[in-house]
């Protein structure tokens, strides 16, 4: 049975290995280039130009690293669409299941080998890809400090393994239920995309309750915000993020030390300072504070494992469904 599965799958496997080899070379070259830039331009930079150098470094590689991440997210999707969906659907469509189910191996055995071999292959390919990209982009990610970003989180470390497993099983089950290869491919892609988007935008942030903290708007906090805004009633800050953490609040109301809202009138006392820096210093002296909720940086690995666990769980459910269904299948 292993022979037959391999015989049917070897064309796809070969294509994948060629693709992986080309990408491996690209990632090694990219990784070396990023590392040498990091070493030459950022390590031991003069404080005056460090910020500038960091921005330049990030700008130089943002596109390549970003595209590679997108590609890594596409790999499980491709595996689901091109390996998972036709795995059973094509046999049902071309009636070859009636040939193979009447040899001396049971359907359960047949399904186990097919699913086992193809999911294993998809997981290994995706895993190698993820290891390469994680290594290649490590310095970039370190400087960038946004490991929880939707695209970054999903394209590094162990999370992609879960996607690969899930995508192939999803494809196989959809194919088993719909019995039409092309339709199954389209549905697999759609469902996988929806699950990925929901995971990134809605579900992942609820893995654990966020931490809520009161932050004093001092000089250091000032560096981590994107802007301040005022309306008639109150002032607020935008985009506060502790480097490496995942911010859950886009904007926060500012309060004075006595707990009353910070207003336009309060802000005016600092306006008219000569420059930005002076104005910031002036505001910082007021000891304003705001509440901020976020997932701390040290939760990154917990989140990675939870994400993997969820996809493994979904995959097991799909596999159970497939085995149940194949036993009842009328052929």
């Amino acid at each position: 049975m292993i022979w037959l599965t391999w015989r049917q799958f070897r064309g796809s496997a070969l294509t994948a290995l060629i693709g992986l080899t080309v990408l491996a070379i690209y990632f090694v070259v990219l990784g070396l280039s990023i590392r040498s830039s990091y070493q030459n331009d950022l390590v031991g930079c003069q404080p005056a130009v460090c910020d500038q150098a960091r921005r330049l470094f990030l700008n130089t590689y943002a596109e390549q690293v970003g595209l590679s991440g997108a590609l890594l997210i596409a790999v499980p999707a491709l595996a689901g669409v091109f390996w998972g969906a036709p795995l059973i659907a094509r046999e049902l469509e071309e009636n070859t299941h009636r040939l193979v189910w009447n040899q001396s191996v049971t359907r359960t055995h047949w399904l186990a080998v097919k699913l086992g071999l193809v999911t294993l292959f998809a997981v290994v390919v995706t895993g190698l890809f993820s290891v390469l990209l994680t290594w290649s982009a490590s310095r970039f990610d370190q400087v960038n400090g946004d490991r929880f970003g939707a695209l970054l989180f999903a394209s590094r470390n162990v999370a992609p393994l879960g996607y690969a497993l899930f995508a192939v099983l999803l494809g196989a089950v959809v194919g088993l239920l719909l019995r039409r290869t092309v339709l199954a491919m389209a549905v697999t892609l759609a469902v996988f995309a929806v699950v990925q988007v929901l995971m990134g935008t809605v579900i992942r942030s609820h893995f654990m309750p966020p931490v809520t903290a009161t932050v004093i708007l001092d000089q250091e906090a000032m560096r981590n915000i994107q802007g301040m805004g005022m309306n008639d009633v109150r002032g607020r800050i935008f985009g506060y993020t502790i480097p490496g953490s995942w911010s859950m609040s886009e904007e926060n109301d500012l309060y004075k030390p006595d707990g009353s809202p910070f207003t336009v009138a309060d802000a005016k006392t600092c306006m008219g300072e000569d420059d930005m820096r002076a104005e910031q210093d002036c505001q910082a002296k007021k000891k304003l504070y705001f509440t901020h909720s976020y997932h701390p940086a040290d939760r990154y690995w917990s989140f990675q494992w939870i994400e993997l666990g969820i996809f493994v769980g979904l995959s097991l459910l799909l596999a159970a469904l497939a085995f149940r269904r194949i036993r009842q299948s009328a052929g």
Partner: protein, 238 residues
């Protein structure tokens, strides 16, 4: 004499539509049994039940004394239109048979392929309908099944390929110790090879037995006339 297929009150419904009703048959071992009836009479349903591809809704059926589908190595099945893997070669199909069947008779398979004049390197997708049927029969035979079931093996073939296939089947049965059940909507196909007959109309068995016994009991000399008689009677009743 043991029976290869024994069914009592067997029935299969798809929703409210009965595909097979109250079907009781007993096919002894060593026969080439023909299952004849018009399209939609329930032939494929009966064969599907026989190899365990579908489950009955009523009655019982035993194949080689056990539940259908429970003894894959002992039963060979060639589905309608003899499906094969289009992208695999003839030799690959023999390898498939060898890998998936412990009892595989490589010698038998090789001999048949040679005798039939099939090119081992030919992709199965490029075989003619007749060659495909022969390849499928080869796999079922080399598995050394005790019972080979063929669902409409010649329905899609032209008259010459039809004749060649049935001749090859008769030779195989003479050579190897095997029972065969095959279905067709044309009695002419079955007359050539069968020594046992089951006539199925509208999901019910109308006539069943060894050909010689049937002819003797009805004082007929022509099988065709006898079966036609039964088909017409079924028509009148419905």
């Amino acid at each position: 004499m043991t029976s290869v297929i024994h069914a009592e009150g067997l029935g299969k419904r798809y929703g409210r539509h009965p595909a097979l009703e109250d079907c009781s048959i007993d096919i002894p071992a060593g026969r080439v049994a023909g299952l004849v009836g018009p399209n939609g009479a329930g032939k494929s349903t009966l064969l599907g039940l026989t190899c365990g591809l579908i489950a009955p809704t009523s009655g019982s059926i035993e194949v080689l004394g056990k539940r259908p589908g429970s003894q894959l190595p002992r039963v060979g099945f060639v589905a309608q239109d003899a499906p094969v893997y289009r992208t695999l070669s003839v030799a690959d199909h023999l390898r498939l048979g060898a890998r998936l069947n412990r009892s595989w008779d490589a010698q038998l398979a090789q001999n048949r392929i040679r005798k039939l004049g099939l090119d081992p390197d030919q992709k199965a997708g490029r075989l003619s309908g007749g060659q495909r049927a022969q390849l499928a029969l080869t796999i079922a035979a080399a598995k050394r099944a005790e019972l080979i079931i063929l669902d409409e093996p010649v329905a899609a073939l032209d008259p010459l390929a039809r004749h060649t296939f049935l001749l090859d089947l008769s030779e195989l049965v003479a050579e190897v110790d095997v029972s065969v059940v095959l279905s067709s909507h044309l009695l002419g196909d079955l007359e050539q090879v069968c020594d046992h007959l089951i006539v199925l109309v509208d999901g019910r068995v109308r006539l069943a037995g060894d050909v010689d016994d049937l002819l003797a009991a009805h004082h007929e000399t022509s099988l065709e006339k006898l079966v036609l008689d039964y088909l017409m009677r079924a028509e009148v009743r419905s």
